[in-house]
């Protein structure tokens, strides 16, 4: 009985506390930089697309909302021929971001994804691509990995050593 009275008193004290909620459309709540909202495809520092269309995001996606197709360009880079995310399916879980080996796919703190037309929630590659680098400003996949592309052969990346001829016996 006493605890009930105490409860009532504690609740009554909340008359004088400020509301935790904000009046949303007029007043936007703060969303952390790593908040999981709308998905974007980022670029490397030099402006090239990061995505190599490896399909890992599509595999990781629990609702299968990502569809893409890989092509290899003339300069040896792998790119997505098309890259489609159906945001009417997407549950903003962030698994695709975790799966991505090139930091290409990233979630942004934008949650205002309401549309009148369901079809306009299907984002194509040119909707998804942004000009910036997102959360990893210095990362460039081809500079970190031993894959040869145009103007960069194996062993010429920033953290690479020249390749070793394993068939040679010389130390």
């Amino acid at each position: 009985m006493l605890s009930q009275l105490r409860t009532m008193w504690l609740v009554l004290k909340h008359t004088f506390t400020k509301a935790d909620t904000v009046e949303y459309p007029e007043q936007k709540p703060y969303l952390a930089p790593r908040y999981r909202g709308r998905i974007v495809l980022t670029r490397e520092p030099d402006g090239q697309e990061r995505c190599v269309a490896c399909n890992l995001c599509a595999v990781a996606c629990p609702v299968d909302c990502i569809a893409l197709q890989q092509t290899v360009d003339d300069d040896g880079r792998k790119r997505a021929e098309f890259f489609r995310i159906n945001f009417s399916r997407c549950i903003l879980c962030g698994f695709c971001e975790e799966a991505c080996p090139t930091y290409a796919i990233q979630l942004t703190p934008d949650v205002e994804l309401a549309e009148y037309d369901r079809q306009s929630l299907v984002y194509e590659k040119h909707h998804l691509l942004i000009d910036g680098v997102g959360k990893y400003p210095d990362y460039s996949f081809y500079q970190q990995s031993g894959i040869s592309i145009k103007n960069k052969d194996k062993g010429q990346g920033s953290q690479e050593k020249p390749p070793i001829d394993v068939k040679s016996l010389m130390p």
């Binding site: 009930q4 409860t7 009532m8 609740v11 009554l12 909340h14 008359t15 506390t17 935790d20």
Partner: protein, 323 residues
């Protein structure tokens, strides 16, 4: 003839104020609960959201007024009307101020208790006529709950009757001129208030409609205007219990002298009522719902003996002229 028209006018004024204020109470409740839960509550429709109930009314009128084909149709339709009418009838005996009040019955208190008992029919019939399991369970709970709590609701008021020597509510108010009955009948007030919460099945005693377990209890099958009538009945019930508590224990429109002349009697009365209504809402916000057997146990094992002891002590004290 002239008097009859005057009375009818008074009745329509009271009705015309009561029903909108019951609707406003929905908004007040939502706002207050919002504040106590560190939210804002409905604040979009009109200034401070004051027109929220009006918007709700438009919405509820636009809904399909469905009578389930498997129900007992006549009873299904009559049940919500009984609820609202019984509560509204009780307001007839309440003296709002020295000269406002519909009826000046000799047995006003008994009339109130009778109407409170009759209001149970609304719930029980609704539960039965719906022909659905949730509704039936809700109706059964309502029957058991009301029967148990009605017993000591009446008993808790007998102390007041003993002290004032009258069943007439107006005389009960006037006999509090020397001091409100809350001073001598504190236990009686607590018991009456708890019984009143159970009677108007409000949280924490809203087991007949417990939405977490029974969907909506006895009004699961109701929609549209009939549901609105149940809602109206419930909120009018809150106001009725508050009004009765003020009349019986807080001196009605009476106030100690320096204060009494500041505001008209009716304003003092309404102020007291609104404080009690807020207590109702506070109870709803803060307390969890007991289990059903706990509810009945609490009623029979603690409240009933408490009411009886209160009556006994009051009688002894009144006989020996201590109070």
């Amino acid at each position: 003839m002239h008097d009859t028209w005057l009375k009818l006018f008074e009745i329509s004024i009271i009705l015309g104020l009561l029903i909108p204020s019951a609707a406003m109470l929905v908004w007040v409740e939502r706002r207050l609960i919002g504040i106590w839960q560190d939210r804002l509550g409905p604040n979009r429709v009109g200034p401070f959201g004051i027109l929220q109930s009006f918007a709700d009314l438009i919405k509820i009128l636009g809904k399909e007024d469905w009578v389930p084909p498997f129900s007992d149709k006549l009873v299904f339709i009559v049940a919500p009307v009984i609820g609202a009418v019984c509560v509204l009838m009780s307001f007839a005996v309440i003296p709002f101020s020295p000269n406002i009040g519909v009826a000046d019955l000799n047995i006003g208190l008994l009339f109130f208790l009778a109407m409170a008992s009759l209001a149970v029919y609304s719930v029980v019939l609704a539960g039965w006529a719906s022909n659905s399991k949730y509704a039936l369970l809700g109706g059964m709970r309502a029957a058991a709950q009301t029967v148990s709590y009605e017993v000591f609701m009446g008993l808790s008021l007998m102390g007041v009757v003993l002290l004032s020597g009258s069943f007439n509510l107006r005389e009960i108010v006037l006999s509090q001129q020397s001091g409100w009955f809350i001073q001598t009948q504190f236990v009686g007030f607590i018991v009456f208030f708890i019984a009143g919460i159970a009677e108007s099945h409000r949280l924490p005693f809203d087991l007949p409609e417990a939405e977490t377990e029974l969907t909506a209890g006895f009004h699961t099958e109701y929609s549209g205007l009939k549901f609105a009538l149940f809602f109206l009945g419930e909120y009018l019930g809150v106001m009725l219990i508050s009004c009765m508590s003020v009349v019986l224990f807080f001196g009605g429109w009476l106030m100690p002298e320096p204060l009494a002349s500041w505001l008209p009697a009716i304003v003092w009365y309404l102020l007291k009522v609104s404080v009690l209504v807020m207590v109702f809402i506070l109870l709803r916000t803060s307390l969890p719902r007991p289990r059903f057997d706990q509810l009945l146990l609490f009623g029979w094992k603690y409240m009933l003996p408490l009411a009886l002891v209160n009556l006994l002590v009051t009688a002894v004290l009144a006989l020996t002229e201590v109070i």
